[in-house]
């Protein structure tokens, strides 16, 4: 963390919250408090009433808070006092909230019995409070994941509503927020529950969020799921094909046309939460060069990890036979695909990669190929030296639970709202790789209009130092950019615009900016 000492904060800033804001926050908290109390099996009966009441209180609290915050104000940027508030400036309340979040995630992932999920017998606690809603949707009792999914959706809808008000002058922000709210409510929450309802004794289809694509959904190609899909007839096969096509065909096409934003800030659930509930924390992302370096190493290591893990898992069950694809054939196709991508980058895009990225790519590539080679040379019966099961469970624990949940969301108030997306998400890394090398998307810089004010960099949730590009008159083409468009929104001089255009000339480094002597521009910029 950088030491930003704020020379001007005297602690005398205007009162952080108005009376209405306090009351509405209290209302929402009471709703959450009812849920918390239900953990201790305080008999809230009938459950339907108390569940509806608590959910309604949370929703009403957020709506009221939103009105209290923005209704009396003109449409425009609403960042006043962000750095004066304890909650949004890493103060006392930020740490409290961080602790509550991380605590919740630890219980959710590792101690669901504390929430009332009983391995034998009916639910108790807060899980049982959610039984009526789960019954209504899927016909099954709730699980800790159903509780989590409901609260997650409520957060995206509620804080999405808040975001819509905050940016009511900005159609890009509004459309994008409607989109994440729609995908969360429909694809992530309702459709999987309804799919579950279709399942019976003789028909079992993995029900899941269809837009939760591998490798974000790292368990999508595990044996039990693939078996389910294969046994579920045409619709199952269609799902399997869709799952593979999502990452290999659909994703590259959409990312080429629109940049990775089509997923990360319009569709993805993690992005959806970050953009809505996480919006008040977006400025906390670290903008230093060191953080960028860490990001590149971490996120690409996760990609390597997930590729190796998934290959190993799929290979090991294919190898046991019974599938039309043999384990060996699968391994060879993975190796070929990686080689083709690697060769393409090295031949056509090498000059666009920085030196360290080049070395890293070569390193990873050699590593993966040598592991595969090792297998074929017969030196080990286990692929990649590890039991695939060990790899899978390690990934699930370290990346799936700790990184994306406990750290990713738990630390929103400390490290910002996109820690997972920036440092850990393998999907974001793959999309980013495409965005950097093969996409029409860029953030255009408007000639020489930048005044280096730093709003863009400060409010970039991905920690991109946007200003460093804008003040050089250079377009922003960065693999991590999720295209949220906030930099362009907060820019006071109309300097930034998210665009899809001809890939030629989208990277345009300049030394002398537009507006100066044309001869000087020619002289310096053509060097």
């Amino acid at each position: 963390m950088s030491l930003d000492v704020n020379m001007s904060v005297t602690g005398n800033s205007p009162e952080a919250l108005s009376v209405q804001q306090k009351l509405s926050a209290a209302l929402g908290l009471v709703g959450l408090f009812i849920m918390t109390l239900s953990v201790f099996n305080i008999g809230f009966q009938p459950k339907v009433l108390w569940l509806s009441l608590s959910l309604a209180m949370v929703a009403a609290g957020i709506v009221w808070y939103t009105k209290a915050s923005y209704a009396g104000k003109t449409a425009g940027i609403k960042n006043d006092g962000v750095y004066f508030k304890s909650l949004t400036n890493r103060g006392f309340w930020a740490y409290i909230l961080g602790l509550v979040f991380t605590g919740f995630y630890i219980i959710l992932y590792f101690y669901p019995s504390l929430l009332g999920l009983n391995s034998d017998g009916a639910n108790t606690g807060v899980v049982s409070l959610f039984d009526p809603l789960s019954q209504a949707l899927s016909g099954n009792p709730a699980s800790q994941w159903f509780v989590y999914g409901t609260l997650y959706t409520l957060a995206i809808l509620g804080f999405g509503f808040k975001f819509l008000w905050k940016y009511r002058h900005n159609s890009y922000q509004r459309l994008r927020t409607f989109s994440v709210m729609f995908f969360q409510l429909g694809f992530a929450f309702i459709i999987p529950e309804v799919m579950a309802r279709l399942n019976g004794d003789d028909f079992s289809l993995p029900y899941y969020n269809l837009v939760n694509i591998w490798p974000l959904n790292y368990y999508n190609f595990e044996q039990y799921r693939v078996d389910d899909m294969l046994s579920a007839g045409t619709i199952g096969i269609a799902l399997l094909i869709f799952g593979v096509a999502s990452i290999l065909v659909i994703t590259p096409i959409l990312t080429y046309k629109y940049g990775k934003r089509w997923y990360c800030s319009w569709v993805c659930g993690c992005g959806g939460l970050a953009e809505t509930a996480g919006d008040p924390f977006r400025h906390l992302s670290d903008k230093s060069q060191n953080a960028w370096k860490l990001e590149r190493w971490l996120v690409h290591s996760v990609v390597v990890f997930v590729v190796v893990m998934t290959t190993a898992v799929v290979y090991s069950y294919l190898n046991n036979g019974g599938y039309w694809l043999s384990g060996t054939a699968f391994l060879i196709s993975v190796a070929s695909l990686l080689s083709i991508v690697f060769a393409w980058v090295m031949v056509y895009k090498r000059e666009q990669l920085q030196n360290d990225a080049k070395y890293a790519a070569i390193g990873f590539f050699i590593l993966i190929l040598s592991l595969i080679a090792l297998h074929f040379s017969g030196m080990t019966s286990k692929i990649f030296l590890f039991e695939s099961e060990t790899l899978r469970s390690t990934y699930g624990f370290v990346i799936g639970a700790i990184f994306s949940g406990v750290v990713g969301v738990g630390f929103y108030p400390i490290f910002g709202n996109r820690v997972w997306c920036r440092f850990g998400c393998p999907m974001a890394a793959i999309l980013g790789f495409q965005q950097r090398l093969f996409s029409k998307f860029r953030i255009t810089t408007n000639g020489g209009q930048c005044i280096s004010c730093g709003n863009c960099s400060t409010y970039c949730e991905m920690g991109i130092d946007v200003r460093a590009y804008a003040q050089k008159g250079e377009n922003i083409v960065r693999s991590s950019c999720v295209g949220c468009g906030i930099c362009a929104s907060v820019c006071p001089r109309g300097v930034l615009k998210l665009e899809n255009d001809d890939p030629k000339g989208r990277i345009n480094s300049k030394d002398v900016l537009l507006g100066n002597d044309v001869d000087l521009m020619d002289l310096v910029n053509q060097k």
Binding site: D4, V5, N12, S288, G494, L498, G515
Partner: protein, 434 residues
């Protein structure tokens, strides 16, 4: 061989741009002297610190390690005297500091027009880091500062009004002219902005002169008196935002020729050998085109820095800025301008004005009446592309071409409501009427 030592007084956008560009081309020794701040910061963003959008560190465009890495020496000191014969600076510490080439890039200070009481405590400008600290001291909240009065209707005045209103401090805004910023913008735009300023609860008073600033026994401001009506407005803070002027007092003891600013020729050379001046403090002996001799604008400071770097690295270049452009933001309304739009069209020039129904967006175009050549545009609430307008100005496109192709120049975010068709219709209607 000993490297030439270039000393730059001032670490604002002009001086820093110059230093960066010299470093790109050479190994010369470079020192930046400033008494204002240790590191370069974006002056234009001072307001955002007070408003709580950003912290001080966010204003710095380069990380602190940047300077050492690029061998740009920083010296925190105030220059008190320049001895051009000995090529030496006298610093406030008493130290003598030598240079081979000296560049004055010391910026400007708020104008004071000799109002009684103008040096009272709690009378501030909004130019420097110290001004921001003063503001925080005198106006931390609406208990310590029950009302603020701003004198002077320009860009900094409206920024200060916005800043204070974020802390719920009531603001009275005194503008001498009949309309806001009327030495620069036409009345139509001024009226739009006046509505918007009032919408934010600012007590905007036009056509009003400051008579006197009244202070209490401790010498702290307590009220202002208005000349026309004699009205006394109680306040705890007075913001002087009636423009800026070059910060050249420390040069009066030197032989460098001064007028309002440091006089320079097109090579940005002062009257003394090996001494140059750039940015807000430089005054062109002959104004360039429509530009004022002193251009106190971020962009021009940067351009002078880019240009002088060439000269100092052995590739002499005159300061020859391209087409005029500028930008600002008034509360929620963004402003950009390309080419020249004056308060009233010049002789032989005509204009076209369009305003959106909500009264928050407008464009204003000036063009030559006979040839219809496009001369410039003001745009409020609609972002336009610099490159496209720069091209049109170079090509001497006609106003018809510009308005017909306005879509090409739109720079608003995707999915924003577009007004080009409305604008075209309005333009056609005006043509018929003419």
């Amino acid at each position: 061989m000993k490297q030439e030592h270039i000393v730059i007084i001032g670490n604002g956008i002009s001086g820093v741009t110059l230093a960066r560009h010299i470093r790109k081309q050479s190994d010369k020794r470079i020192t930046l002297i400033s008494s204002e701040s240790e590191h370069f910061f974006s002056r234009t963003a001072l307001m955002y610190v007070y408003m709580g959008h950003m912290k001080w560190n966010h204003l710095k465009p380069y990380e602190d390690k940047f300077w050492k890495k690029n061998r740009l020496e920083l010296k925190q000191a105030h220059v008190e005297h320049v001895d051009v014969k000995q090529k030496q600076l006298k610093l406030d510490s008493g130290e003598e500091f030598s240079y081979d080439k000296l560049v004055i890039a010391c910026g400007s200070k708020p104008n004071k027009f000799g109002w009684p009481g103008q040096d009272s405590k709690g009378v501030i400008g909004l130019v420097s880091k110290q001004d921001l600290e003063q503001l925080e001291h005198y106006a931390p909240n609406n208990k310590a500062c029950k009302r603020a009065v701003i004198i002077g209707g320009g860009l900094i005045g409206v920024e200060l009004a916005e800043m204070l209103s974020t802390r719920n401090i009531p603001v009275t805004f005194l503008v001498r002219e009949e309309h806001f910023w009327s030495n620069v913008i036409p009345d139509e735009e001024a009226r739009l902005l006046e509505r918007h300023i009032k919408e934010h609860g600012i007590d905007l008073r036009l056509d009003v002169n400051l008579d006197e600033i009244l202070s209490d026994d401790n010498g702290k401001v307590k009220a202002v008196r208005i000349q026309e009506t004699g009205e006394v407005i109680n306040c705890d803070l007075v913001g002087l935002t009636a423009g800026v002027s070059p910060n050249t007092d420390f040069l009066k003891s030197s032989t460098i020729e001064l007028n309002r600013g440091v006089l320079v020729n097109r090579m940005l050379e002062t009257s003394e050998p090996d001494v140059y001046a750039i940015g807000d403090c430089a005054e062109q002996r002959e104004p360039i085109g429509n530009r004022p001799p002193i251009e106190a604008v971020w962009y021009t400071g940067r351009m002078m820095g880019e240009t002088l770097a060439q000269t100092l690295c052995g590739n002499p270049m005159t300061y020859k800025p391209g087409h005029w452009f500028n930008s600002a933001k008034f509360f929620d309304i963004e402003y950009q301008t390309y080419g020249w739009v004056f308060h009233i069209p010049k002789d032989g020039h005509s204009d076209f004005y369009w305003e959106a129904e909500d009264g928050k967006k407008c464009i204003h175009i000036h063009f030559e009446e006979d040839s219809k050549i496009f001369k410039g545009i003001n745009t409020f609430g609609i972002r336009l592309r610099h490159e496209v307008f720069d091209h049109w100005l170079t090509q001497e496109a006609t106003v018809d071409e510009v308005i017909k192709n306005l879509k090409l120049a739109n720079f608003d975010p995707e999915f924003f409501e577009q007004h080009e068709n409305e604008i075209l219709d309005a333009y056609k209607k005006q043509e018929v009427n003419v």
